[in-house]
């Protein structure tokens, strides 16, 4: 089982859109996929038409009083399941704080699902917190969407430094440009120049286009309802790079 996490300290950079599209593409590849919507806003749950509610709330899950199995919902797509968001997730930091080895808690919760799933996606809320630290410890590959600005690359370097200080398991990092506006000269320039010579950048670039925003109208991944769009093509490229980077064999 490979664990992918979409992570960025900033909000509104395309984390959820990435998690939703890549988890759908993984399922289409024949993998058994689970997406855990950890963001209390519940955007990923909404996009899959699943109510953002977990029986017993996040506390019961984190403390192990309720089985993860009970919380899992099937999406409309074969091979793709989801653990919905819950408004109580806003307190996940506090819940983790009271657990043993909080930074390793998510990895521990996911371990029993190894027999049921090949791929897990964690869709993280924007923050630096105990939750994000737990996510970083659990993940095999961090997918980091970046808006093409100089500052965002600085953020990536800070993240890389932080992760390299981990003892034991360290996630690999794959950054990619997201919300690229082709009309902005600076966006184009940074997207063309910054990745040069870096191995932690994907070639795929997700554009800022309205079809991605339409996901909330269709309540489905853009890769499912607009398969021929440029955005869908870029998500497919990104998934291929992420899959290869994580060492997943083709199903």
């Amino acid at each position: 089982m490979k664990i992918f996490a979409t992570y960025n300290i900033k909000g509104g950079v395309g984390k959820t859109a990435t998690a939703v599209n890549l988890s759908y593409l993984a399922a289409m590849d024949g993998y058994r996929v689970l997406l855990w919507d950890l963001d209390p806003q519940g955007a990923a749950s909404y996009l899959f038409r699943i109510k953002p509610r977990v029986k017993g709330g996040g506390k019961a899950l984190i403390q192990g009083r309720r089985s993860m199995d009970d919380a899992i919902k099937g999406t409309d797509f074969s091979g793709l399941d989801l653990i919905p968001a819950d408004f109580t997730y806003r307190n996940l930091d506090l819940m983790l704080d009271s657990a043993k080895q909080p930074a390793r808690r998510l990895a521990g919760l996911l371990a029993p699902l190894r027999k049921d799933y090949d791929v897990v996606f964690l869709d993280c809320p924007p923050s630096i917190s105990l939750l994000s630290e737990s996510v970083l410890h659990a993940a095999d590959l961090l997918l980091v969407p970046l808006i093409p600005t100089t500052l965002s690359v600085r953020t990536l370097d800070q993240l890389t430094d932080f992760v390299s200080g981990f003892n034991g398991h360290k996630p690999d990092i794959l950054a990619f440009f997201s919300m690229l506006d082709r009309r902005k000269r600076l966006h184009k320039q940074i997207a063309a120049e910054l990745p040069a010579g870096r191995t932690d950048f994907a070639g795929a670039v997700i554009p800022a286009v309205s079809v991605i925003e339409q996901m909330s109208l269709h309540r489905a991944p853009v890769t499912a309802f607009a398969t021929r769009s440029q955005a869908a093509a870029q998500y497919r490229d990104l998934w291929q790079e992420a899959r290869d980077r994580a060492g997943l064999t083709a199903e």
Binding site: R49, I50, I72, K73, T75, D76, D81
Partner: protein, 525 residues
């Protein structure tokens, strides 16, 4: 069938009929509606089992599905739960019938091997399925269950159209909403809950029933008061059915059990002719005995070589001094000899003589009329079982430690005759009583069988070695390895001989004798 899924059947002619999709789509509640689930898909389905339905009898169903060029084999359990499912790669195409060993290694093969054993898997039904799908959706337009409507046209074993099968499978986490959808579905005219498996449905559409034991020699149902002649004619006709049922599988060499079962039918027939000739019209047994002897002899060489080859891996694994590799020329020689014997066998089974034998025998049995009401079959069975029992006991009592091997062989024949009679007239006895009565007889037969088989195989291996030496197909190390096998057989035979006294004492014990004698008192009860 998925956990929590529900099966429904659409009954012909009632209510919704072929427009079931339309009728279902029209049933909505305040929280559930139906939506199109995608294009209709087609698939070719083949169900596989052994000739004697070993999978079915073990509660298993093996289905091969071909859809969009992909071939997949799925094994399901009694409640439709999937036990193993594996695609068949294009380079590992299996043409049926085939032994389980032809499947790629994996969980599926591991589950099938102990059940199918040495029997080949053959198609037992074939059908084409057209599957349309509807989605049950909630007020978020979220799919909470999928409804597959499967219309199956059966092409084998006979053509037929099965009633549409509806399977409602809940999406994970939406069981209670799916239960509501199931209640809606149950209200559609013509639709009712049904749990028959797809295989049962396909076979029913073809007018067949699964699990029928074609080809096994088995006791037919006899009533004690039946005239013996009528009962014997019916029994022998059933044995002829069994014999003929195994001919195609033997000729196509599907697996070794067809020939084995064919020989059992021949042996039972020959024993019946010998032991119950008085119940048959004058001259009938004398007319057909030489022909059935010919048939028995025709099948012996191939069967002997089959037995050798089936036990070959075990023999090779038991080698201490020699290696399996050194034995390879022996296996090659056995395979070559078997191919020659099999050619002779098939020639015989396709010959005019065989066709005439079965046709004449069937006609002769159909012409048997009971001139008298007596003896009844119960009286015949009692007399024959009692006589065979006496003979077996006497033959055994004469055996001493210095008796030659032949006397044990003779005893084995007497025991076989007794056993055949007990089995053939089995319907006259209570099954539990019969099982108890033959317990010690079976154990004695096993020991005698091991004694004789070891001797026959040892003699044969010597003959093989001589022939292989003569045609220069055996290097010295192969002959030495064969010598080691012969020594192993001699040890087996000696051990069987050592066990004989104890086994016969059990058989001859008063309690065992009383139980067997009881079987010979059917007509008195």
């Amino acid at each position: 069938m998925l956990t929590g899924s529900r099966e429904f059947v659409l009954h012909d002619g009632a209510g919704a009929g072929p427009d079931v999709l339309h009728a279902v789509a029209g049933t909505v509640s305040d929280s559930i509606a139906w939506a199109n689930g995608g294009p209709v898909t087609t698939r070719r389905r083949t169900w596989l089992d052994t000739f004697d339905w070993r999978l079915y009898r073990a509660g298993l169903t093996l289905e091969q599905v071909t859809a969009r060029g992909r071939v997949e084999l799925t094994l399901t359990g009694r409640d439709g739960e999937v036990l193993a499912s594996e695609p068949l790669p294009a380079d590992r195409k299996v043409s049926w019938p085939s032994l389980v060993a032809a499947l790629p290694p994996g969980p599926l093969r591991e589950l099938l091997e102990p059940v199918a054993g040495i029997r080949a898997l053959s198609p037992v039904a074939r059908a084409g399925s057209r599957v349309a799908e509807l989605r049950a959706v909630n007020d978020d337009a979220k799919t909470i269950a999928r409804l597959a409507v499967d219309r199956m046209s059966v092409t084998f074993p006979a053509r037929g159209v099965a009633p549409a099968r509806l399977t409602l499978s809940p999406v994970r986490g939406y069981q209670s909403q799916a239960d509501k959808a199931a209640r809606l579905l149950a209200g559609v005219p013509g639709v009712s809950a049904g749990r028959a498996s797809a295989l049962d449905t396909a076979l029913a559409a073809a007018g067949c029933r699964p699990g029928e034991l074609a080809g096994k020699a088995a006791a037919i149902s006899l009533s004690p008061a039946m005239p013996a002649a009528t009962a014997m004619a019916a029994t022998l006709t059933a044995l002829l059915d069994s014999l003929e049922a195994n001919v195609p599988g033997t000729v196509r060499d599907i697996d070794t059990e067809f020939l084995h079962d064919l020989r059992i039918a021949v042996r039972w027939t020959r024993s019946a002719l010998k032991l119950c000739r008085s119940a048959l019209p004058d001259g009938l047994a004398a007319r057909f005995e030489p022909e059935f002897r010919w048939l028995g002899d025709l099948t012996t060489p191939t069967r002997d070589l089959d037995v050798y080859l089936l036990g070959f891996d075990g023999m090779a694994a038991a080698l201490i001094g020699a290696t399996e590799l050194e034995l390879a020329p022996f296996r090659a020689y056995l395979l070559k000899s078997r191919a020659g014997a099999y050619r002779q066998l098939t020639r015989g089974l396709r010959s005019a003589r065989f066709v005439r034998l079965t046709a004449d025998w069937r006609a002769a049995l159909a012409g048997v009329r009971a001139a008298r009401k007596r003896p009844t079959v119960a009286q015949l069975a009692d007399a024959r079982i009692a006589a065979a029992h006496r003979k077996a006991l006497r033959a055994g009592q004469l055996i001493t430690p210095s008796s030659p091997a032949q006397s044990l062989h003779d005893l084995r024949k007497r025991c076989k005759e007794l056993r055949y009679l007990v089995e053939m007239f089995g319907s006259l006895h209570d099954p539990a009583q019969r099982w108890q009565a033959v317990r010690e007889l079976k154990a004695l037969q096993d020991t005698l069988g091991e004694f004789q088989d070891a001797e026959v195989q040892r003699d044969e291996i010597r003959a093989f070695a001589g022939q292989m030496l003569a045609d220069r197909s055996a290097p010295a190390e192969t002959l030495l390895a064969m010598g080691e096998i012969a020594a192993g057989l001699a040890i087996r035979q000696r051990d069987a001989r050592a066990r004989f006294d104890g086994r016969f004492a059990d058989f001859a014990s008063p309690a065992s004798q009383a139980r067997l004698s009881e079987l010979a008192r059917t007509s008195a009860s």
